[in-house]
Symmetry: none
Subunit: 233 residues, 2 copies
């Protein structure tokens, strides 16, 4: 991911902090948004879909903990990284904060250099998390073994070639969700690769052949989605 594409939402009730920290982050090339309280933060987060949110704990209107909990429930933000800004020595808040779903803590006073390096490492986690998930997953009567590149459908082993596996993997990562053709190409083939218009269809065909027609639903003009039998109503 390009650094310029990384969006950071900075939330603090002290304008001075917003300005100083914001300046430093912009200087590093990040796109920075700000908010002065929890309510604003949630609005801004929904609007800008940042990758990272730096959240002050003590704020008027809605404090950081509460804001964090609310944000964690927003689906479009499920992968956002949230770090709390706390005054040194506020031990109790750490407990509450981790429960609320925070990924990290940064203690005030904030040293710009420390902050930037911390952010870099947090964002590294963002990448590795999406790349990882190299684990097993069970959906209905289908199990996916990402280590072995194999899936099991009611105890029957089905081996899939790489592209098919990745396509299947993508679709099942969010059963029910429609993946747009464009998004599928981006994820499975990579943004640079250009393949013909029928390539996806052919792979879907193979999956339908091997796993079952009913699991893969076409949404014309949009893309495909994976549905579990009987859940399509």
């Amino acid at each position: 991911m390009n650094k310029n594409d990384i969006k950071i939402l900075l939330v603090d009730d002290e304008p001075d902090i917003l300005e100083i920290v914001g300046y430093n982050l912009k200087n590093e090339g990040y796109e920075v948004f700000t908010a002065e309280n929890g309510l604003e933060a949630i609005k801004a987060a929904k609007k800008h879909l940042p990758h990272l949110i730096l959240l002050d704990i003590m704020m008027p209107e809605m404090d950081g903990i509460e804001a964090c909990e609310k944000i964690r429930k927003i689906k479009t933000l499920e992968n956002v990284i949230i770090a709390f800004l706390t005054a040194r020595g506020e031990d109790y808040s750490q407990v509450a904060g981790f429960e609320a779903g925070a990924d990290d803590y940064i203690t005030k006073p904030i040293k710009p250099k420390v902050l930037v390096s911390k952010i870099k490492s947090l964002l590294r986690r963002l990448k590795s998390e999406s790349a990882a998930e190299e684990d097993n997953l069970k959906i209905g009567d289908i199990m996916i073994d990402r280590d072995e590149y194999v899936i099991y459908k009611s105890n029957k082993k089905i081996e899939l070639p790489r592209k098919e596996f990745e396509l299947f993997s993508l679709l099942t990562s969010k059963p029910g969700k429609v993946f747009k053709r464009e998004a599928i190409l981006d994820t499975v083939w990579g943004n640079e690769v250009v393949v013909g218009g029928r390539t996806i269809d052919v792979h879907i065909r193979k999956l339908r052949e091997k796993i079952g027609d009913d699991y893969f639903k076409t949404v014309k003009g949009v893309g495909y989605k994976f549905v579990l039998k009987g859940q399509d109503k």
Copy 2:
């Protein structure tokens, strides 16, 4: 839910595993119970009502599969999450009873960090299952699911073709507001596309057919608006 209130039942016949994994989980703040075989597991599960059960597959007395099936039948435990512990590379098709009702699989050797993050995500599922349906737009008895490209009217699923969905989506984005024909064309069709004068009407017709006449009100000389039943006066 407070982290300290979360109970995990760990079942494995190797004391080493119980100790190491148990230690890590306790360290994370979970309340941990252990059992060395399926029989003990069932007893312990009934007694402690854990939120999550980590179940080794290969065990003496009663293996994990059988235990899982039995546990699934216990009413007081109907919401428990069960994850199997399996050796890496194990052929799951040989693991009879793959459909015993496990929610997930975790492969050995178990890396504490992976395990903990996995558990967090499993428990997140626990929460989200009860508080789901967060992000979707609800208007009266109609729900719009943009992820799945479907709408639900009093829980009945209605699938709409793309243009209809987009038109519907636009109108419902501000119930009561009149959208001018021109504006509709701009949004749904795009400014460049030129279509005949009756195209919008036809699409409105389809929506009325599928969703109900009363929801779509014509404002002659201007455009259309979406209204909830009985609210257009």
